[in-house]
């Protein structure tokens, strides 16, 4: 029996080396790597935060405060303790899922994140669906018809998507589609009229309005999300379509494509049935990365559209010197990236038999 087989079966001929099954070892390694990454991220953000010349006491008490009150709050926030003690306390809290209180909102950081993150997930998810569903076909078509007018249009659209600031696109989009044409809802997640008729269940307005069976409200939420999601999708689309085109071009120059065509396979079937399968792994990575960037928070889009999301929360916290919120958000971003990387690894196994 080979060693791999022994390990897989959980039996061991060499207790010192193969006491754990390989999948367990792999999972352990992944978890350890996960933990070390997050610890490093927390340490880096925490210590950089303490080095920044931003005063958390002023963030809490304001500028017009006596030195006595200042010192009392300084002590209350634990800032009089050595940095390593502060960090130790912080990590102890994190292990209990307590990220401390956000100085700028007076609420626990976890509660704040739980409130703002669904808004960002909802926006990013709609955006990535739009970006992916348009970006991949456009990328493939561009590669198929390289140099054609379609390719040129996709290239120009990609260039605009890359280079035009979302802030500007957002404002222009609002002026055109909201103020002039009236096709979409304005800034915010929903009209004020509806906002108070809905008790949040999941925090996702599209889902909550459906759960409530309120189709009118659902339509209103869709009308509000469609524009910011499309603006965000535009830059994702640009990235996804360019990368897909590049991957596909490489495939289309392979000999197996010529062979398939010689054997009489249709062009569409050759591309979608064979070449696309071979670039699926790379495309998944690109989509996952795009999604991660969207989840990280599109600060400018959220600002223009008065979207109460994660990116804006993090930026405000940073500018106010609210380091509990900043470190909490940074850890979350780290978790998102690491998790999406893990998911990518899993998807590799689905799409690419060689990695199984």
């Amino acid at each position: 029996m080979s060693r791999t087989a022994i390990a897989a079966s959980g039996q061991s001929s060499d207790p010192g080396r193969t006491i754990f099954p390989s999948w367990l070892k792999a999972s352990g390694r992944t978890l350890a790597s996960f933990a070390v990454t997050l610890l490093g991220l927390a340490a880096l953000t925490f210590f950089i935060g303490r080095l920044l010349p931003l005063d958390p006491v002023v963030a809490v008490l304001g500028d017009n405060v006596t030195q006595e009150a200042y010192q009392a709050m300084y002590k209350q926030l634990g800032l009089d303790q050595p940095l390593y003690v502060q960090f130790g306390r912080y990590i102890r809290g994190v292990l209990h899922l307590d990220f401390g209180m956000a100085l700028t909102t007076g609420k626990p950081v976890m509660a704040d994140i739980a409130r703002v993150f669904p808004a960002t997930i909802e926006l990013a998810s709609v955006a990535i669906v739009i970006g992916t569903s348009l970006g991949i076909p456009l990328g493939v078509l561009s590669a198929m018809y390289r140099g054609s007018w379609l390719d040129q249009i996709v290239r120009v659209v990609g260039l605009i998507g890359y280079s035009a600031p979302n802030f500007w696109l957002g404002l222009m989009g609002l002026v055109l589609f909201y103020a002039t044409l009236g096709w979409v809802g304005g800034p915010g997640r929903i009209d004020f009229t509806y906002e108070f008729d809905l008790e949040p269940v999941t925090g996702f307005l599209l889902i909550d309005s459906l759960l409530a069976g309120n189709w009118e409200m659902f339509g209103n939420a869709v009308s509000h999300i469609i524009l910011p999601a499309s603006i965000l999708a535009f830059s994702s689309l640009a990235y996804i379509s360019r990368m897909t085109r590049s991957f596909m071009m490489e495939q289309l120059s392979q000999e197996y494509v010529v062979t398939a065509r010689v054997k009489g396979l249709s062009w569409a079937r050759t591309v979608w049935g064979h070449a696309f399968r071979n670039i699926a792994v790379q495309v998944v990575t690109v989509v996952a990365l795009s999604y991660a960037f969207l989840l990280e928070g599109a600060v400018l889009t959220e600002t223009v559209f008065a979207w109460p999301g994660f990116g804006r929360y993090l930026t405000n916290a940073l500018l106010a010197g609210d380091m509990n919120a900043v470190v909490g958000c940074t850890l979350l971003v780290g978790v998102i990236f690491v998790t999406l990387n893990l998911l990518c690894d899993l998807l590799y196994r689905v799409f690419d038999p060689r990695t199984r």
């Binding site: 008490l61 006596t66 009229t193």
Partner: protein, 544 residues
Amino acid sequence: MTNRNDVTGTKRRSAGRRLLSAAAVAALCAGAGAAFAATPKNALVMAWNVDAISTFDPAQVGEVVTNEILQNTCDTLVDFDPADERKVQPSFAERWDVSPDRKEITFHLHKGAKFPSGNPVTAEDVAWSLHRVVKLNFGNAATLTEFGFTKDNVEQTIVAGDNTVTFKLDKPYPTTLVLQSIAANRVSMVMDRKTLMANEQGSDLGNKYLATRTACVGPYKLTRWNAGESIVLEANDGYWGKAPGLKRILIRHVAEPGTQRLLLSQGDVDVARDLTPEDLKDLEGSKDVSIVKVLRPQLFYWGFNVADGPFSKEKVRLAMRYLIDYEGLGKTVMTYLGVPRASFAQLGAVGALDAKEGQPFKLDLDKAKQLLTEAGYSNGFEASVLFGTLPHANPIAQSVQQNAAKVGVKLSLERMANAQLFSKVRGREYQSAMLAWQTNVPDAHGNASRLVFNPDNRPEAKQTQYPSWRSAYQDLDLNKKVDEALLEPDPAKRDALYATLQKDVMAKGPMAFMFQMNNVAGVRKDLKAWTWNGFRAYYELAAK
């Protein structure tokens, strides 16, 4: 074998058609999904940048947004007259008596009022609310300690009686000043003692409980606050006073002025609070929107650290005032935002110099050069100017920098986050800085007591709540004049004392005051009676 280019041609046309169809369908779907609503008839909807809210505890609140919300949800003992902020009118106190020696003020309270919790409002609640401000000792405690109330004596000097509350003062302060400073201030907001004490954590007197809610009595009650998202105030049905004109006040957090403008133009909000001068100018002729503005008691100034270096010399500081293009900036950058003002006493305050006397400076490079030469800096000098994220700070700093360069003064500009700016200025770690200061009192004493008076200039004294200390500036003669003006019983003589003080400070003080700021907003014309002055907005008076 099929020619690949032929295939491309066919597919190209087909793909183009499909794309166009998809785009048309997407557009139709989006259009069909849109559902719009004008603002509700019984509600005031406002777009405002409300990021700064971090607590609703009146003992701790120090910024304008929360202050305004509290003013509409929590009654104070007296209130500013909407038409003339220098006058006070009864609020939770129906009337007040003053002892002949001016050292006791007795407030007679409304009877039968109840908090939204159902608890009755008592004189003990009123007195306790004031005590807790002093005991908690946040920045707002200074509003009371400046008048002699301390942690040790406050329970004996602010006393509840038979439906009355009496202030026992250590000095015969002007009664109007006490009413404006304390009785109309958030420190006298009547808090629900039973609710707060039932939710006390440690000995915080309900401070943490108030981080996300209110517990007081007023025409409106706070029913929802989602940080960075929205605020909802509902009319307080059991309110003892007149019922407000509108049932709900809905405030949506909108940080971007351009977005606020769009919402206002579309009629999705009734009031937009953070419009830029460009937006305001464009909206000026609108048939649907009015631009309303009112002076507020906030001054934008250029402060100098006089501990050492060129700014320690009076003539250098005076020269800097002649480098400010008050008129040019007033007509450009500061249109709508504010008016030129060189005096520390804001326009509209008791004792303030009028607009002309309170702003005697103009851009005069020759005069500046002459003063620099007299100060021993004929070749100029180098210095830094710190400023924060206020939108007008950058262009003003640049204008001053350009003018200064013409007389040999090289100013380096450093922009930073406000929290960083405050830290540096509070720590005296700067040469000069441009920032804003706001008083809570429509009386010259409000600013004289902080911007001129400095009780102890030693670095270790850390009198950081005094901008005068932050400038390392102490003039014992001016200190004396501040005290003298404060206690002068004759209003005419008091005005004269403040006039002298203002002129002295304009000549040698550590701050070159530049502009007094406006409250400015775009208001839909179908909203009636939007009422405000420099000290508060009166939501309860608005109607549709």
